[in-house]
Amino acid sequence: MKFVHIARNTFRESVRDRVLYNLVVFVLLLVVAAVVIGRIAVGQEAKIIVDAGLSAMTVFGLLIAIFLGLGLVTKEIEKRTLANILSKPVRRAEFILGKYLGLSLTLLVNAVVMAVAITLALLYAQGGADSLQWRLWPTAFLLWLELLIVTAVALLFSCFSSPALSALFTLLVFLIGRWSLDLKLFAETASSPATRWLSRALYHLLPNLANFNFINQTAYGQVVPWQLLVGNTAYAVCYIAAVLAAAVLIFERRDFK
């Protein structure tokens, strides 16, 4: 259970490094949006607050997932803190898992505080309780799952690539993953067999993140179907497990000069 200690320490690091300060910026933006939009878009406030709030949650979360995700391992190597950990009775796999869970916890706290802020903004804008205020929570949960996948991918890249390249690769994976349905369509319609094969391989290999984005539908009053919620959770767990297993496999074989 040493990964629990490592996870707790990773979470503590992000708190002490003032990562959660992004929440202050987020809340300020949301307050301004709620007040300003309420005046200029009468009748549309709730929709816009949900849309803008959840989109901002994605952007802020993505920045944390990519940049902190990359630093999880590279910082420990560069700052030479890894030598101290590996000399102790800790498996490399426990280290990777602990680091990953620590950042997942940071993202969870971030997502929960942001969702609470959006709920409060809606309460203010709608002048009372409304079903939309709870319906945004499953959507926020899906966004958190999406960020967990991105974090795992960032961690995987950082196990063998430089931070700059890893950031680029992770961002590309996120973007392609978000447009995975277009990639599937392209795979079906491309004229060249090689392109078709490559697109299909990429479609299956890269995470299908399109299903995790339910922001628009939520803003228009839909609720996330439970089948989608369960299916996406299972998909995220399996995908993350596979990516982390690959990261561990690479990290186990790596020499630190």
């Binding site: 040493k2 200690h5 490592i6 320490n9 503590r12 690091e13 002490r16 490094d17 700052k79 030479r80 803190t81 890894l82 030598a83 101290n84 950990i85 590996l86 000399s87 102790k88 009775p89 800790v90 498996r91 020499d255 630190f256 000069k257």
Partner: protein, 313 residues
């Protein structure tokens, strides 16, 4: 008896260059044994392969060839890891943690129950003189203070064997003295200590045996008394209570004479000059405080092995 550390034919090659790859041998067939309860000095100039050896022992690298066993166990044996302590060369620790939090974290990673880790943390903080600074984040610590934290974390699990990579670096003379005393205390407790250092006087004062590494190869290994050759028949005498006339007489035949507040330190060519020294000292109503054969210093040996020259005074 199982040796505390057994290194057999350890070799490490690095590949350099991007297009035209070249192999660089950092460690070349290193073999050595450290017995339980020994204080073993691991010496060598920069780039000799000392840190590479530590990295292999601490699971940061896998060797190209050869094996090493600590306390009779393979390097990836986790139960063995709970029985050793390690101080890295430049101790960079989590600077957002306080010294107390860091030691506690190291304790639980070494399988200590939380309460035992907390108690051990307080003991060690007091032992390395950091109780007052225990609640400060490590980023506010000086290099010497970090070195003490490093030593404390290496001792958190009360290890049987300690690996200390340059434990004296960054310490002022007082700090070095404290580390030396600490190592002496640990030796009394029966712990095995394997450490590298550049400060040869410290090594000389503390080690039972040493190994000298140069360009990845072992060039000398053994008991200090065996490998430090006695230099001809020279003697060094310390005398006290003598006057200037006596000192002038001694200067007539001594190889070297250094006045001290109490008297002088005199180097003699051989014991034939000894009788004259005793006569002169007694006539001046002085006293011979000590008499020792002049041995080659570890520094001389080091220079001789590394450059092939003896550093003759």
């Amino acid at each position: 008896m199982i040796p505390a550390l057994a290194i057999e034919n350890l070799t490490q090659d690095y590949t350099t260059g991007f297009w035209r790859k070249r192999s660089l041998r950092a460690l070349d067939g290193l073999s050595l044994r450290v017995e339980a309860g020994e204080v073993f000095g691991f010496l060598g100039p920069n780039g000799a392969g000392k840190t590479t050896t530590f990295k292999i022992l601490m699971r940061m690298q896998r060797p190209t060839a050869g094996t090493a066993r600590i306390l009779g166990c393979a390097l990836d044996d986790l139960a063995m890891r709970a029985r050793i302590g390690y101080l890295p060369e430049q101790p960079y620790f989590y600077d957002y943690l306080t010294a107390r939090e860091f030691l506690l974290y190291c304790g639980v990673l070494c399988d200590l129950p939380k309460q035992a880790a907390a108690a051990r943390t307080e003991t060690l903080l007091a032992q390395v003189g950091l109780t007052e600074a225990a609640a400060q984040p490590l980023r506010k610590f000086s290099k010497g203070m970090l070195q003490r934290v490093g030593l404390a974390q290496a001792l958190i699990n009360d290890p049987e064997m300690l690996f200390l990579d340059e434990p004296m670096s960054g310490l002022d003379p007082l700090g070095r003295r404290e580390v030396r005393d600490l190592i002496a205390r640990l030796r009394q407790q029966g712990k095995t200590i394997f450490f590298s250092s550049h400060i040869l006087t410290d090594v000389e004062a503390m080690c039972d045996r040493v190994a000298i590494l140069h360009r990845g190869r072992l060039v000398e290994s053994g008991k200090l008394s065996d490998i430090l050759k006695a230099r001809s028949n020279e003697l060094e005498a310390v005398i006290s209570g003598v006057n200037e006339t006596a000192l002038a007489a001694l200067r007539g035949f001594a190889l070297e004479l250094q006045p001290t507040p109490q008297g002088a330190r005199v180097r003699l060519r051989s014991d034939r000059d000894l009788a004259r020294l005793v006569d002169i000292t007694q006539q001046a109503a002085g006293r011979v405080v000590s008499l020792n054969p002049v041995r080659e210093s570890l520094e001389d040996l080091f220079v001789r092995e590394i450059t092939g020259q003896v550093n003759d005074p």
